[in-house]
Symmetry: C2
Subunit: 471 residues, 2 copies
C-alpha cells in the first residue's frame, strides 16, 4: 500500500474529526481526552514524566511490579543526556525496534525497564514469566530484545552504555549497563512460536535478518515516541489510560485486543460483556477498545483504515462512546498465538484493565506451510487462563458469535440450530470487501463497511497501475 493511500485515509479520518456536528452519536472523545492531556501537559508533565518510575494512585488493578514504568527522562536532563549519548557507540533502530522502545518506555511491559538481559530473556523463553525482586511472578511471554551484529558488538567492546538512534538518525534513547549475549535464533523462534516453519511474518521481517547478538540494558528515552501519522492522539500510555479510567470513575475495565475491523459480532460480545459486568454488580464498567498499532503482516488491514473503521462503529452507535475508550496499543504483532495472547493480556493489566476478553485462536494465523491453523483455536484461552502472573486478571472467554440467517444479525452461536448460522472469517470478510460484494445485512454497520470497501478499492486501483506499466 502506498503512502498516497495512507494519506487518503488519514485525510478521511481528519475530515471525520472535523465534522463532529454531523454525527448521530458524537464522535469518539479521544480528541477531547487527548486535548485535555495536551492542554494539561505543562502542568502535569513534570509529575508524569518526572522520573523513571512514578507511583500511580488508583483504585484500578495494580500494575505488574506495583508501578507503571516510565522511562522518558526529565525535560531538564534531556540536553545533558543527549550530549552524553553523542559520545557513545550508536546502535541503529529499525522501525519495529522503535515500536518496542515505545512499548517499554511507557510501561506496557512493566516492570521491565529496558531490553531484556539474558536472565530475563531465558525466563521469558522458558517460563513465559519473570520472577521479580519481591519473589512474586509477573507474566512476560514474549522476549523483548534488541539485536546487534558482530561488527557493532566489536565496536561496543567493553563499553557500559550505548546510544540508540532512530531510523531518522536522531538519538532516541540510551541503553545503560548493557549486557551482550548470543542470539540463538532457532531456539528463540521454536520456543516462541512452537514451530520454525518458514513464513512466520515476524520471523521473516525481524528475526531472520537480525544480528547474532542480543543487547540488554536499562532504557532512558530522551523524548516520548511519536509517529506523526495523525494518530498519535490515539496513542495513550498506560498511565494516561489509568488517569482516564480514574477520571471516569471506572469500577471495572474490560479490554478488547484486536487487529481487525470491528464487526457486529465483536460488538455483540463487547456489549454483552458490559451487561454481564453490570449484572455482577459493577456500576461503571468501561470498555478499552484497543487495536494493536505496531507491525502487522502485509495482508492485515492497516492501522489508519482500522482506526477510521472503529470511529464509524462508534459514530453509528454500535458501541457507546460514553463507556468506551478507543486507544492504540503500540506493540508489534508476533502472530504467536497462545504465547502472544499472554503478552496482550499482561500489557492491558498495566493499562488498568482487570477484565480481558479472549476469543477463538487469539493472535493466531494459518500454519505457514500446512493447511491448518498454526495453533489449536482453544489453546489461547486455555493457556491464558493458566498463565503465571495473570491470576489477578479476569479472563472472559468469548462466546462464539456468528451470523444468524433467521434473525438476520450477528448472534451468539446456538448449536441446537447450527444450520441457521453463517461463520464469516476474516478472510471471507476481506473477500467481500475486495470484490465489492455486500456482506449479509447486520454483519457490520454500514459506515464501517464503507471504510473497508473504499480501502480495498484504492488498493486495487494501486495494484492496477504497476500492472499496466509492466505489461
Amino acid at each position: 500500500m502506498s503512502l498516497t493511500i495512507k494519506l487518503t485515509h488519514f485525510n478521511l479520518l481528519t475530515k471525520t474529526h472535523n465534522k463532529n456536528q454531523n454525527f448521530k452519536t458524537p464522535i469518539y472523545h479521544t480528541n477531547k481526552l487527548s486535548k485535555s492531556f495536551f492542554l494539561g501537559s505543562t502542568k502535569t508533565t513534570r509529575k508524569m514524566l518526572g522520573g523513571h518510575v512514578v507511583k500511580i494512585k488508583s483504585s484500578l488493578i495494580e500494575p505488574d511490579g506495583g508501578v507503571v514504568i516510565d522511562l522518558v527522562v526529565k525535560e531538564n536532563e534531556k540536553d545533558l543526556k543527549l550530549l552524553e549519548a553523542e559520545k557513545m557507540v550508536k546502535i541503529g533502530l529499525k522501525k519495529i525496534d522503535l515500536e518496542w522502545v515505545h512499548v517499554i518506555s511507557e510501561g506496557w511491559a512493566s516492570p521491565l525497564k529496558g531490553f531484556m538481559r539474558e536472565n530475563e530473556y531465558l525466563q521469558s523463553l522458558h517460563f513465559n514469566s519473570l520472577r521479580i525482586g519481591n519473589g512474586s511472578v509477573v507474566n512476560m511471554s514474549l522476549p523483548i530484545v534488541l539485536d546487534i551484529d558482530d561488527e557493532t558488538k566489536e565496536k561496543i567492546g567493553s563499553d557500559n552504555d550505548v546510544a540508540l538512534v532512530g531510523p531518522d538518525q536522531t538519538v532516541v534513547a540510551i541503553l545503560r549497563s548493557i549486557e551482550i549475549y548470543k542470539h540463538n535464533k532457532e531456539e528463540r523462534i521454536a520456543r516462541t512460536w512452537g514451530t520454525i516453519a518458514p513464513g512466520l511474518p515476524y520471523v521473516e521481517e525481524v528475526i531472520t535478518p537480525a544480528g547474532n547478538w542480543l543487547i540488554g540494558g536499562d532504557l532512558e528515552v530522551l523524548a516520548p515516541i511519536k509517529y506523526n501519522d495523525g494518530l498519535d492522539h490515539y496513542r495513550l500510555s498506560p498511565k494516561q489510560l489509568r488517569e482516564e479510567f480514574d477520571r471516569r470513575q471506572a469500577d471495572a475495565v474490560f479490554a478488547f485486543q484486536l487487529r481487525n475491523p470491528v464487526h457486529n459480532g465483536h460488538a455483540l460480545l463487547m456489549n454483552d460483556t458490559r451487561k454481564r459486568l453490570l449484572d455482577m454488580g459493577y456500576k461503571n464498567p468501561i470498555l478499552l477498545l484497543h487495536p494493536l498499532g505496531g507491525y502487522t503482516k502485509a495482508d492485515d488491514v492497516p492501522l489508519d483504515v482500522r482506526m477510521e473503521q472503529h470511529s464509524k462503529v462508534l459514530e453509528d452507535g454500535v458501541l457507546d462512546p460514553e463507556t468506551t475508550i478507543v486507544s492504540i496499543f503500540p506493540s508489534p504483532m508476533h502472530y504467536a498465538g497462545p504465547t502472544e495472547v499472554q503478552w496482550h493480556a499482561k500489557a492491558r493489566i498495566n493499562a488498568g484493565a482487570n477484565f480481558y476478553i479472549v476469543g477463538r485462536d487469539p493472535a493466531g494465523m494459518g500454519h505457514p506451510t500446512e493447511k491448518r491453523d498454526l495453533y489449536d483455536p482453544d489453546h489461547g484461552k486455555k493457556v491464558l487462563s493458566m498463565a503465571p502472573g495473570l491470576e489477578k486478571l479476569n479472563i472472559l472467554p468469548f462466546r462464539v458469535a456468528a451470523y444468524d440467517t433467521v434473525a438476520k444479525k450477528m448472534a451468539f452461536f446456538d448449536p441446537s440450530r447450527a444450520k441457521d448460522f453463517l461463520f464469516i472469517s476474516g478472510t471471507k470478510m476481506r473477500t467481500y470487501a475486495r470484490t465489492g460484494e455486500s456482506p449479509p445485512d447486520g454483519f457490520m454497520c454500514p459506515g464501517g463497511w464503507d471504510v473497508l470497501v473504499n480501502y480495498y478499492a484504492s488498493l486495487q486501483a494501486e495494484e492496477a497501475t504497476p500492472a499496466a506499466v509492466s505489461a
Copy 2:
C-alpha cells in the same frame, strides 16, 4: 549392542557382588539396603503401597504437592482391578511408555497422578510448571504423555477408563477418567527442544512414530514395575530413598544426576560438595549418586556397564560408601538441555534431595544438524536457578574440573594457568576406551576404567562379526 553382551556385563556385575570380601572398601551397600527393604517388605508393604497418596513423615525437603505419590494399588484390590481391566479397551505400552508408568507410579513426578491431561500438558509446555490446588506452583518441564493412534481413539469411543498393557501383553495399569486431545508433534518438539531439526534421539525414537492423539488420566498401577535385569535392587523409589535418608539421619541430601561413567573430575566435585556442606554446618550430608536408567541414545554407555563402573568407583574408595547412596533414576532421557535439567532436579526433590549439583551443558548434546552444542552450555544452570517451583532446592553450580597435567590429577580448572589443563570430553573418553589407549593417570580409578575398556572391546568384537558375514 546385543543381549549377549548385556548379559556378559550383568554377569560381571553379579560376580562382583558375590566377591565382596576381595574389595578394599566394602562394595556399595545398596545390596544391604535393598535387602533390608526386601526383608522388611511384608511388614512395610501395606503401609508403603497402601494407598495412592501416602504422607511421608520426614525432616527432609517437602515433596512437590506435600506428599510423594504412590499409584500402585493395594495387594488385596489387585485381582478385582485386573478383572475390571480385562473388560476395558487395551492400550499397548512401548518400552519407554512403561518407563514413564514407572516414573509416575512411584511419585518422581509428584503431584502428577497419571499421564497428563491437556491442561497439564499445556502448562508444562508453556510454563515448565503446574499450578496445583492450593495455588502454589510445582516445576514440571517435560510433558509426560501417552500417545494413541486414530484407530485406538476410535475403539475407546466415549469410555471413561482404559487398560494399559505392557510389551509382554500383561495388564500393567488402568488409566481412569481419561481425556483424549490432539498430539501436535511439531509444537511439542519445538517448545520442548527449542528446535525441530531432524536427529533428536527421543523425537526419532518416541515422538515421530507416535499417534496423533494424547490420552491423559489417573493411573492405577497393578504391581510395581520391575525389569528383571539384575538391577532392580538399585531402583529405589522416592519413598524408599527418603526412608533410607531418614534411617541415616541425613541432614542434607545432595543429588548428582549422570548418564555417563564417573571419572575423578565428577568425584572431585561430589567430594568437594560434601566438604562445602560440612563447612556450612551440616553434620551428615549424604550423596545421592543417581544414574539415569531409562531410555538413552545408542552411543551412550548402557546402564548395566555404568552401574558396574559406578560400583568400582565405590570399591576403589573414590567415593565413600558410608555417605553415598547409588540408585537408579528410572526416567527416560530427552536430551532437552535446560528444559530437561529442571525435570532432573524436580524429581530429586521428590526423592528427598535438597541440594542439586549442576554442571556444564546438563542434559545437552551436539546439535543434530549443525556443528555446535545444541544448547548454550551455561543455559542449563541459569535456567535451573530461575525455574518456577525449584525455589526450595539449593542449586550447586559445578566448578569446572579438568585434568591438571602438572599435579597429574583431576582438579578444578585454574584459569591463571590454563595451559596446564586438559579437558577430556565424554567423546574423548569414549575414544580412549574404544582404542584401548589409557587416559592420563588419575583421570579415572583403574577398576572403573577397566569396565569401560572391556565394554568397548566386547562391542568391537560384536561389530566385527556381522562385518565378516556381510563381506
